[in-house]
């Protein structure tokens, strides 16, 4: 087989990352070498993924790769396999792209830290773990990759171990993460006991027809395991701790990439392994979990006073959107959910990088201490605002496009099924979106606008490399927002179709006709329709731009906004000072976590209850995990 044939690209794309990690361990002392290796490895990984775009996304192929060419014999898949369908490729592209951007950002961001070689090693391990997870065709390898990425993520969370809470966060994440990983392992092995194979495709063929108590419990175990990886409620406090403590470039990966791997696992589990999503009860479960995550985390975010913790809670809130939409089990819903997953990776990456830029320059992320940075860091401010508008769903940025699709998908589902519960999801999503906007207005006011504290007089703009990384993400936010039609056609629609093409997935791996012979009742091919996919015409956005341009130029011509006629403010007496109603000018910043007092006052009981609940004691969080597991098992035994 030709070494350059497409077949090999998935494994290359994983291996370059691990190889890079290995090389940096050995030769990482040299600064140039480690930067070159890290950049090269992450770019190569992205390149190999991008090369698969045409055959997989456009031509609808599925690429199966058997390690050592050990193809299935006698109807049993013994070898280790990689399988790349459109769903895997969608996540693979997303992951490798963001990993590359985070790597570009790291170079200058981490330049003042100790132990930088170890950082890059762990960084590449984390990236490789996620890539391996999404491309793997084997349940046990998924477990291995989950362990690798959990380990790398824990170590990176504790990387700046002198920072406040980093060790604590890492320990909590390790404990609950390990409970999750153990769940995945136990679930995997229980499935193995039933079907005697670990290959995803073969399991997908064998399990749905042979549900027993053991497989149902295994389902619950795997489900909770992947929920831990996606940090869904009730695992959200860990996300907040881990994202808050880790370096910004790692927060990007944890929130943008690691949570996606959890979502990917949930999709594979529910749509492929068990094909349980045809059940209304399963849809209810996923959508309910998504909506609760969406709402609880956005309210938690409103109460935060740390920039990165706030962003972390928003991550989970947005993951809630994704899960609620994916759980609808309509092609349109899945397409919308994946679109939002992609957008979330882009805008949350941008926001975390902006938070990192603030931390890099000021040394703090406490909303109560910052203020007025927009005059010192104008580019960061603009980039942050783009991210904030995207996540709040302000048109024409990408969050709007995907949220719009999610609203339509949930509302359509409500109308189709006549179930008023789905309508509540639509309302919840719409209100959550406004709450998201509120908390970003809070950040904008507390960090970038308002008054500049004395100690930050000498703050400078961040170096070009960091701005470049943010700029790329910001541009992608805008592009994916302006071209929703292209994104859905070339990225999310093929992936959504792949979710429903379970039979093809199995046959590609195990040989044609395997699915039909092994499955007692092959799933009916679901009709994939995008009829209600509302995509607005780009002409309206052209009009928007035109109006904005016209307005600016009219005022500019009128001379009011021109630099000469607007007096330059320095040394002209009190005229250009702020208005204090005649009082003496003093430093008075309005910001911090009590900004929306009027809102929080009405919800004070809820907020104090939530504050008590998130006690920060690791035993409590483990207890939540155990309770969630118990509930999941009971639910799976009843409904599956």
């Amino acid at each position: 087989m030709n070494m350059l044939s497409l077949q090999h690209f998935p494994i290359y794309s994983i291996m370059v990352l691990f190889l890079g990690a290995f090389l940096i361990v050995i030769f990482g002392k040299s600064k140039v070498f480690r930067h070159a290796v890290a950049l090269l490895a992450t770019f190569a990984s992205f390149f190999f993924m991008a090369m698969l775009f045409k055959p997989v996304m456009l031509e609808g192929q599925t690429i199966a790769y058997w390690m050592g060419n050990r193809v299935p014999a006698g109807g049993y898949a013994i070898g280790i396999a990689l399988e790349v369908d459109a769903l895997s490729l969608f996540f693979g592209l997303l992951v490798s792209c963001v990993v590359f951007i985070a790597c570009v950002y790291s170079i200058q961001y981490m330049s003042h830290d100790d132990n930088v070689p170890q950082y890059y090693t762990l960084f590449l391990m984390l990236a490789g773990g996620v890539m391996g997870l999404v491309l793997s065709g084997d349940l046990f390898n998924m477990f291995i990759m989950v362990e690798i990425l959990t380990f790398a993520a824990v170590a990176l969370t504790a990387f700046r171990n002198t920072a406040n809470g980093a060790l604590e966060a890492a320990f909590k994440y390790l404990v609950v993460g390990c409970i999750g990983s153990t769940c995945i392992l136990a679930g995997t092995i229980m499935l193995y006991a039933q079907v005697h194979t670990l290959n995803l495709a073969q399991m997908s063929a064998l399990i749905p027809g042979n549900l027993s108590t053991a497989t149902k419990v295994a389902f619950a175990l795997l489900f909770i395991g992947f929920c831990t990886k996606a940090f869904l409620v009730p695992f959200h406090p860990l996300a907040a701790d881990a994202h808050g403590a880790a370096p910004a470039s790692i927060s990007v990966l944890i929130s943008g990439v690691l949570t996606k791997s959890g979502i990917y696992g949930l999709i594979r589990l529910s749509y492929f392994l068990f094909q349980s999503m045809a059940l209304g009860t399963m849809q209810f479960w996923l959508v309910f979990l998504g909506s609760v995550s969406m709402f609880v985390c956005v309210t938690m975010a409103l109460a935060q006073h740390d920039f990165k913790r706030l962003l972390a809670f928003h991550s989970i809130s947005q993951i809630g959107y994704v899960l609620a939409s994916v759980g609808l089990c309509t092609a349109f819903g899945i397409s919308a959910g994946l679109y939002h997953a992609m957008n979330h990776t882009l805008f949350k990456g941008l926001l975390f990088l902006a938070a990192g830029a603030v931390l890099h320059e000021t040394g703090t992320t406490d909303l109560g201490k910052l203020g007025g940075l927009s005059r010192k860091m104008p580019h960061t401010t603009v980039l942050f605002l783009i991210g904030a508008f995207s996540i709040s769903g302000i048109p024409p940025f990408n969050g709007f496009a995907s949220k719009w699709m999610i609203y339509q998908a949930t509302y359509q589902k409500a109308v189709e099924t006549g179930n008023i519960g789905f309508l509540l999801v639509t309302i919840c999503a719409l209100v959550t979106s406004t709450l998201t906007l509120a908390s970003f207005v809070k950040v904008t006011q507390s960090v970038f606008f308002g008054q500049l504290p004395k100690e930050y007089e000498n703050v400078k703009e961040v170096p070009f490399g960091m701005r470049l990384a943010m700029g790329i993400l910001a541009a992608m936010c805008l592009v994916t927002g302006l071209l929703p039609e292209a994104v859905t056609r070339y990225l999310t629609e093929p992936a959504a179709r792949a979710v429903f093409a379970v039979t093809d997935y199995i046959n590609n791996m195990m040989g044609a006709g395997y699915a039909q012979s092994a499955m007692t009742a092959p799933p009916a091919v679901q009709s994939v329709s995008f009829a209600s996919a509302g995509v607005w015409s780009p002409i309206s956005w052209l009009c928007l731009l035109m109006i904005a341009l016209l307005a600016v130029s009219i005022v500019a011509i009128a001379g009011k906004y021109d630099r000469v006629s607007v007096k330059s403010p320095e040394n002209l007496g009190g005229k250009y000072d702020l208005f204090y109603g005649g009082e003496q000018t003093v430093y008075s910043q309005v910001g911090g976590d009590d900004l929306f007092w009027g809102f929080k006052h009405n919800w004070r009981h809820y907020f104090s209850f939530m504050h008590e609940l998130h006690s920060g004691v690791v035993n409590d969080y483990s207890l939540w995990a155990v309770v969630a597991l118990a509930l999941a098992i009971v639910y799976a035994l009843i409904v599956l």
Binding site: S374, A438, V441, F449, K560, P569, D577, L595, G598
Partner: protein, 339 residues
């Protein structure tokens, strides 16, 4: 291609875009001020006063505070105004809509956020503490209005969707078309609470009494506008006026769209046809729309303004999320069960 471009340019600049918004919005604002004054037994300013104010502000010096971020400070008002004008393009004038079939209520919902956002960002960019307090209140007001607004739009969407058989209708032009054929939604019993809720949302969205805690001029010196002067302030005043038009015309299209059908029947019934009839219909549409907008302004804004005192911000929130949201919810549930 060029004709097409010119057409859209005309939409954007003249009707239903910038010029139309400017004239009608300012007139509505003038009417509102006059009415409030008359209700309080004052003489009040002339109806054209908002125009005078605007042009006067444009001629004044623009002072940018030393602590402000100039780019954001100057750009924010323009972005807000642009968003409102785009929003107006999305709202059909009875049978006429600038963008056919894309007028979507979700787009409208989000575009409505932008003007509020722009005034908040602009205020925040000055660094004034008054702006900080104003921003906090403005955001809570927006949050308050959001839930009832969402419920009303979903209720209307469900009602129309159920009637047309598609089951789901987010398109505003579809909603209007349905009403032109089947009579206004205000005539349906189940939509009455939603209409009432929407009327109550109008003063909240436009920031007028008693929901103007964000701009309480006697208390926090107009909040986010405290540092604004000259042309940017004029743009904000204009935005406020256009928002009056936007909210009231949205009400007309959501609940009184049937009137458009009546006009059409009247003209076509009189034996007219062809281009002349079309032009006449649009002319009448605009006039009727303006009259209705003025009436709604009088009822929902001026009257309420004259008889109430300013609420505290936490009261505003509570009011919207209990009373108004409950009204809208009643409509939604009724529409859901096909009433």
């Amino acid at each position: 291609m060029i004709i097409e471009a010119l057409k859209y340019l005309a939409y954007v600049l003249i009707f239903p875009g910038f010029l139309f918004c400017f004239l009608t919005g300012m007139l509505l604002c003038g009417i509102d001020r006059k009415l409030v004054a008359r209700m309080q037994k004052r003489v009040g300013p002339p109806i054209l006063q908002p125009f005078y104010d605007f042009f006067k502000l444009c001629g004044k010096e623009t002072i940018i505070p030393a602590a402000a971020n100039r780019t954001v400070f100057l750009l924010a008002p323009l972005v807000g105004l642009a968003a409102l004008v785009v929003l107006q393009l999305f709202i059909p004038v009875f049978g006429f809509s600038a963008f056919s079939n894309v007028a979507d209520v979700i787009v409208i919902l989000y575009l409505l956020l932008i003007p509020a956002l722009s005034i908040m960002i602009g205020g925040a960019a000055t660094g004034s503490p008054y702006a900080g307090v104003g921003l906090s209140r403005e955001m809570v007001t927006v949050l308050s209005c959001e839930l009832p607004l969402v419920l009303v739009l979903l209720a209307v969407g469900k009602k129309v969707g159920a009637a047309t058989g598609s089951g789901l209708c987010f398109s505003l032009s579809e909603i209007v078309r349905y009403q032109m054929l089947n009579g206004s939604l205000l005539g349906k019993l189940s939509m009455l609470p939603a209409a009432a809720a929407f009327l109550m949302v109008i003063p909240g969205e436009t920031g007028s009494h008693p929901f103007d805690a964000a701009e309480a001029e006697t208390e926090i010196c107009e909040g986010m506008l405290a540092e604004y002067s000259g042309a940017p302030l004029g743009v904000y005043k204009l935005s406020h006026a256009v928002k009056l038009l936007t909210m009231t015309s949205l009400f007309v299209m959501l609940f009184l769209g049937g009137i458009g059908g009546a006009i059409q029947n009247l003209i076509l019934g009189a034996g007219l046809s062809g281009g002349a009839a079309g032009a006449l219909i649009i002319l009448l549409d605009v006039l009727v729309l303006f009259a209705l907008c003025a009436a709604i302004t009088a009822a929902a804004i001026s009257f309420v303004h004259a008889v109430t005192a300013r609420l505290k911000i936490e009261q505003i929130f509570k009011y919207y999320w209990t009373v108004v949201a409950a009204l809208a919810l009643v409509s939604l549930v009724l529409a859901w069960y096909g009433l």
